[in-house]
Symmetry: C2
Subunit: 152 residues, 2 copies
Amino acid sequence: MLSKKFAYALRGLTYIALHGSIEKKISLQELSDGIDVPHFFLGKIMQELVRNEIVSSVKGPGGGFWIEDSAMNRSAFEILKMIDPKVVASNCLMGKKNCDHDRPCPLHAEYVACRNTLFDSLKETTLFNLAGKVEAGELFLDEKNNSKICTL
Amino acid sequence: MLSKKFAYALRGLTYIALHGSIEKKISLQELSDGIDVPHFFLGKIMQELVRNEIVSSVKGPGGGFWIEDSAMNRSAFEILKMIDPKVVASNCLMGKKNCDHDRPCPLHAEYVACRNTLFDSLKETTLFNLAGKVEAGELFLDEKNNSKICTL
DNA sequence: TAAATTAAAGATATTTATGTCTTTAATTTA
DNA sequence: TAAATTAAAGACATAAATATCTTTAATTTA
Ligand code: FES
Ligand code: FES
């Protein structure tokens, strides 16, 4: 449903929002270490976010990434649209070409409800919010030491 | 989130549940025409369902697929576990190796709620239910004439 | 029994997502 | 200015999902 690209983007941005600033830029190296995501792949994703002006960057010694105050209130949903537009464009969950209210597939109702709920919370969640929650110990960006599997 | 394999499987089974019987078997040709799904790909999926005794088949003239009465109350969730087991095993939505309640990622709460809702309804939905709804005109298996896109 | 029909099985192909490596350009520092 | 550092850009590689084609086996019918 959601791509790894989006997942990595959101985790990366949250890390930068939390640890970075114009004075302390976050290098790609620190970032990929910090969230346990493949270095080069993350680099590509950051490029895209820089182009979209979600994050800022400079090259050279001491360079790296940071997030302007004005970008801190960008929502997770905006990031999703940027990184994974196909998902937002809403394909049918049951493999039909398009999701259609008038000719719903077997999972239409469930899918729409589920997706709307998820998207609504993505719309309400800003990078600032996410950074705050990480700071409060309510959520975690990396994946070291997480051995317990939620088996449902 | 859910694969096309699962989508095609569920739509195919519903078609067979609705139109097939031991007297009137559904050929792969009729089936792929009926639900607008790639012929050969659907064939592979049906093979798997036959091996798992969800659907029955015979070769030869007049042969094809049908569903025994006893299989009509199999749930969509059972089909999902069969066809797309990774999804049920619950990977983290944000690309972490495992979904972990104790170290939740930014979308954990939303994801778990969303997934539980979806899975609950899959558990309650049987092939018999689905066939009934198609018969009642409440849902549709094919994708002809569906031009209206739900843009969210 | 021969021919026709149909699913099963196996091989191959294509596409998409994910991941990696190399080269280039920008910036800083000595 | 020269060297070092770092992101950007582009090329390449791998894996997974999706799709197709060919051959084989089972079954029916003539
Ligand atoms: S028609 Fe399938 S999800 Fe809407
Ligand atoms: S930890 Fe990511 S979905 Fe549970």
